[in-house]
Amino acid sequence: MKKINIRFKVNGRQADLNIAPNKRLLDVLRDDLGLTGTKEGCDIGECGACTVVLNGRAVHSCLILAAQANGAEIITVEGLTQNGELHPLQKNFLEHGAVQCGFCIPGMLLSSYALLKENPHPREDDIKEAIAGNLCRCTGYKQIIQAVEAAANENNE
């Protein structure tokens, strides 16, 4: 299979890669770039564990070919922390006990991150809609919603 060259920005850093065209964005993030915070759950767009933010929008990295992300700006969970400081969403997830096994959390964080970027004052329904595509097997939805609300309130202060 002929390899192709792609480049995109991940968490502010330029990545130049030579990859097989059948690699998904998820594979490249995890295997080539070592960004294993992005999780692989179902592989078919059902669970949201692989969610990243691509050009400002939450997307499934398991449903995007890496080649399709050429030229894009991507944020993964590793990019939320700034200068060693946790993102307000991350802090509130911890404070509200929203993290149990943790497997769904990177996806939850990025879905919430994309929501707050677009809508800094979400209603509860907006939050529910934003994370409807993120499954939590530990079923801590309530705490997750509370954490997002709390982070949004901090935003407003």
Partner: protein
């Protein structure tokens, strides 16, 4: 696993069509990928022959929404998120915006495209019933030809359309709609969100006082493909929109659907739901 494939990223529609024209048998378009990539994973027969993908996602030639004299032109690769957010669609063609909002999850809507929703002619394509009641016309292009035809004619049978391997659905045109039309959209899935449709209904009504001057009815998921109900529409035109007649029409819709699908295990619950919901939709549009 995604099979070994080649990947082409055209710079415009022309290049995409040329690539498709050269290798008709083994080349396929990818846009949002929300159908094709899970399809690869389950080794779906529909995608087994593919050797090369032509990526049209985000192509400016296919991602416009333009209001013109002959209606609203929506590029084939416009995503559902962009449809949900578009002020003209929300205002003038609200059933399409509502249906778009019920597609998958945020992540799916951010990638999945409008033409991608119906080019495979899956019965559960949510955008189809609204597009049908809006009398959508689609434009199909290849290096050989360019044609427009009603979406209704394009959809042949489950997973079969008129699309040829070297063609792309470049745009969807929604003709102008008189302000007097009122509409409703209904979707039933097995759960509240991120659900595959079991039943979708769309209805548009134009009343003159209490008389039904025009009515358009379409269904999806509950019928083998999304379709209009012309006979019922003709029967309803000129009738008075009062309770008894609306009930009669709803019962008839259920009977029509049963005729099309035959009795199935799910008929026992779907039929009453279709009839009851259609009646409620009619009540809502006619009493507004």
């Amino acid at each position: 696993m995604i099979p070994e494939i080649g990947y082409i990223r055209p710079r415009n529609l022309r290049e995409a069509l040329e690539a498709l024209g050269e290798n008709r048998e083994t080349i396929r378009v990818i846009a949002g990928g929300t159908d094709i990539i899970p399809g690869f994973h389950i080794n779906s027969r529909r995608f087994r022959d593919i050797r090369t993908l032509v990526d049209i996602s985000g192509l400016p030639d296919l991602t416009f929404v333009d209001l013109e004299n002959d209606g609203l032109h929506i590029g084939g690769a416009v995503t559902f998120t962009d449809i949900v957010k578009n002020p003209i669609i929300r205002e003038e063609y609200p059933l399409l915006a509502q249906a778009a909002f019920r597609v998958g999850s945020v992540q799916i809507r951010n990638r999945a495209t409008i033409a991608g929703n119906f080019v495979n002619n899956a019965p559960c394509a949510d955008s189809v019933p609204p597009l049908l009641v809006y009398d959508a016309v689609i434009k199909i292009q290849s290096t050989r030809s360019e044609k427009t035809l009603p979406l209704e004619d394009f959809l042949l049978k489950p997973y079969k359309t008129q699309l040829q391997p070297d063609e792309i659905v470049s745009e969807i045109v929604l003709p102008p709609l008189k302000k007097e039309y009122r509409g409703e959209f209904y979707k039933l899935g097995r759960r509240r969100s991120v659900a595959i449709s079991r039943i979708t209904l769309a209805v548009l009504v134009k009343l003159q006082d209490r008389t039904i001057e025009d009515i358009r009815i379409a269904s999806g998921a509950v019928t083998p493909i999304g379709r209009r109900f012309r006979e019922l529409e003709d029967l309803a035109k000129g009738e008075t929109a009062e309770v008894d007649f609306l009930k009669e029409l709803s019962v008839k819709l259920g009977e029509e659907i049963l005729k099309i699908t035959g009795l199935r295990w799910s008929s026992a619950y779907k039929l009453p739901v279709v009839q009851q919901m259609f009646y409620l939709l009619l009540r809502r549009v006619c009493n507004r």
